[in-house]
């Protein structure tokens, strides 16, 4: 007998009582979504920037290798999307656009079509995300309503930069992924 049928058979033979799935009620959310969202992002150690600030930093040479997926920064993009993500190992900055943000925790939803390559938001030294300030929801229940039954092969909430506290619980930003999350509300 295969392990599959053995496992499923064991479960079926228990004939466990079936309990109904509960309905998730509607919970109240912040009445100032942008203010809450910004507060959440900051507490996750993300940063709030303006378009002009990012433009200025790129022009000053802070980010030599830039990949921009968004039209707003196409003129600053000097890297083509490779077919092999390893070629982005020394990418300094990736600029992408998020679909929507969640006020209660600062999470931003992204899918394959927003990333170019799945590795992009992780392998870049720094990550800038543009987000329409009108695309904010209150909590995770509303977030998944918005995601709906989207069929992207990969979907992702990013809520801040790569971080760790594995050494004596001291917070360190920049563990393996992007060292910063620069959020620009448009």
């Amino acid at each position: 007998m295969s392990s599959r049928s053995e496992i499923l058979g064991k479960i079926k033979s228990l004939k466990l009582e079936q309990k109904p799935l509960p309905e998730t009620p509607v919970f109240a959310v912040s009445n100032n979504l942008e203010e809450s969202f910004v507060k959440s992002i900051l507490s996750n150690k993300g940063e709030i920037w303006t378009l002009q600030e990012l433009e200025g930093k790129i022009q000053s040479g802070s980010f030599p290798k830039v990949y921009a997926k968004v039209p707003e920064f196409k003129s600053f993009s000097n890297q083509e999307l490779p077919s092999d993500p390893h070629e982005f190992a020394d990418l300094d900055l990736a600029i992408i656009r998020g679909q929507f943000g969640v006020a209660e925790n600062g999470a931003i939803w992204l899918e394959d079509s927003d990333l170019g390559l799945r590795a992009v938001p992780f392998i870049a030294e720094h990550l800038a995300i543009l987000l329409d300030r009108n695309q904010l929801v209150g909590n995770m229940h509303q977030a998944y309503q918005k995601v709906g039954m989207a069929e992207s092969g990969f979907g992702l909430f990013i809520a801040g930069p790569s971080k760790t506290a594995d050494i004596e619980q001291s917070l360190v930003i920049g563990a393996h992924g992007a060292r910063s999350l620069l959020l620009i509300l448009t």
């Binding site: 496992i7 799945r118 992780f122």
Partner: protein, 452 residues
């Protein structure tokens, strides 16, 4: 070895034990603060618990749904009845790909299956990429906490270790400096691995996708650079619908570390073009636990670690004292189901204060199950020395006269009896317990004199 023996060893270094206790309490406190900002917190716990009730009653159906949908999306689904089969499946995929070096993000299941030593025996280099896990891997230790794997180590020890392994400056124990050294070291491993292994936080029956949560981004760094992603999942990690993620994700990080969400929450639905994605569904004792009515709810666990952070015993005895993959209160109700004899002291490593049950985001009645396991273990072992001294005591409380006389006698006796008798090995209650300062008179005598 038993829990009390191991705990005594942990407590030898009093300063470190105090730091461990206080640091975990700090994490517990952060959990309290953030949970109090969510008015519907208790409703969320109730919802999560009820969703899991539904899952446990229909696990076969949800697993079949998951398999069908995942397969449709191009994920290869494997089934493993035990640790051995799980490890063999992983090895066979690696051999097929001719892969000699892999990266692995945090997976308690692969710890449970002892995957690393198994693969290493076959000449495969396994690199744990979570910073805490990499630290303990360098030391040849298992994680001592499921969320904070290196919480038993001080930065000085990590500094010495990194000096030896990564050639960092001797004596530099700055966490930022040490983390950067690990970043450089692991970056090379990420770029070189053809296969990446991850655990799974949630598998969704409705969509056939699975979700992995990290703060470091190490799971994603691994899998998006590798040609093959192998995800290892215990069968109890299934949830019915995608929308249910909202309930569990609101609870998970807040309960674990007091943060509103992990910085990365990745949903894997199908492999990227030209890549492969495998998922191994593992039983390894879970169907047996499902069949134990009293202990079934332990399978609701979402591995947040909150019960460890709050537990007065865990905080003061350290994760290694449990000698089980999952330590702490939840480990003490999961492990006896795997090996009653080996883990027979764990359900006693508790004050039964109930704090674990109070913080559990899926409302597992942990302390009640600890109590129930004690009864199972006592039944299996016969009368314990502790219950012998307890039943002697019981006789005294049954008769008012015996109680009155024994009180007077005890006050006189305890003053004069040598410690060797009070702390006699036969009196297991005296072990690791001090007697209180003795009052001069009984409460009854005091009351008669002052209020009578």
């Amino acid at each position: 070895m038993s829990h009390p023996v191991q705990a005594a060893e942990f407590l030898q270094d009093a300063a470190k034990a105090k730091w461990h206790d206080e640091t975990l309490w700090f994490v517990r406190d952060k959990r309290d603060k953030i949970s109090h900002t969510i008015p519907e917190w208790e409703q969320l716990r109730e919802l999560a618990s009820k969703i899991k009730d539904n899952v446990l009653g229909n696990l076969d159906i949800y697993l079949e749904d998951f398999e069908r949908n995942a397969t449709k999306n191009g994920i290869k689904v494997h089934w493993a009845k035990d640790a051995e089969e799980h490890n063999a499946i992983v090895l066979s995929i690696l051999q097929e790909k001719n892969c000699k070096a892999i990266v692995k993000s945090k997976s308690i299941l692969t710890e449970e299956c002892h995957l690393n030593p198994y693969l290493e025996k076959s000449g495969i280099e396994v690199v744990d990429t979570d910073l805490g896990e990499r630290i303990v891997q360098f030391l040849n230790q298992p994680p001592s906490h499921i969320v904070l794997p290196a919480i038993h180590l001080k930065k000085g020890e990590i500094s010495d270790l990194f000096h030896e392994k990564l050639h960092t400056e001797k004596g530099n124990d700055d966490p930022t400096y040490l983390t950067q050294a690990a970043r450089v070291h692991l970056r090379e491993k990420f770029l070189g691995a053809k296969v990446a292994i991850t655990g799974v936080n949630f598998g969704i029956a409705e969509t056939g996708e699975f979700v992995v949560c990290t703060n470091e981004g190490n799971a994603d760094m691994g899998v998006h650079l590798a040609d093959v992603h192998i995800a290892c999942m215990g069968i109890e990690k299934i949830i019915p619908k995608r929308q249910h993620l909202s309930v569990f994700l609101r609870l998970l990080a807040r309960s674990a570390t007091g943060q509103s969400i992990t910085n990365y929450t990745s949903h894997f639905r199908s492999p990227a073009a030209g890549r492969e994605m495998h998922i191994i569904l593992v039983d390894n004792g879970r169907t047996a636990q499902l069949g134990r009515e009293t202990f079934r709810n332990s399978l609701k666990c979402i591995r947040c670690g909150a019960c460890m952070n709050t537990c007065p015993i865990y905080r003061r005895s350290g994760g290694f004292s449990y000698e089980s993959t999952v330590p702490g209160p939840i480990g003490s109700i999961l492990s006896p189901g795997l090996d009653l004899k080996k883990y027979s002291t764990l359900p006693f490593a508790s004050t039964l204060c109930g704090s674990c049950s109070d913080v559990c985001p899926v409302k597992i009645n942990i302390h009640e199950q600890l109590y129930a396991w004690r009864q199972e273990i006592t039944k299996a072992q016969g009368t314990s020395p502790k219950s012998l001294s307890m039943s002697l005591g019981n006789g005294i409380f049954k008769s008012p006269l015996a109680y009155k006389i024994s009180g007077t006698l005890m006050r006189a006796a305890l003053k004069t009896l040598p410690d060797s008798l009070i702390y006699n090995p036969l009196n297991t209650y005296g072990k690791s317990r001090d007697l209180p300062e003795l009052p001069k008179e009984s409460f009854k005598d005091w009351y008669k004199k002052n209020r009578g």
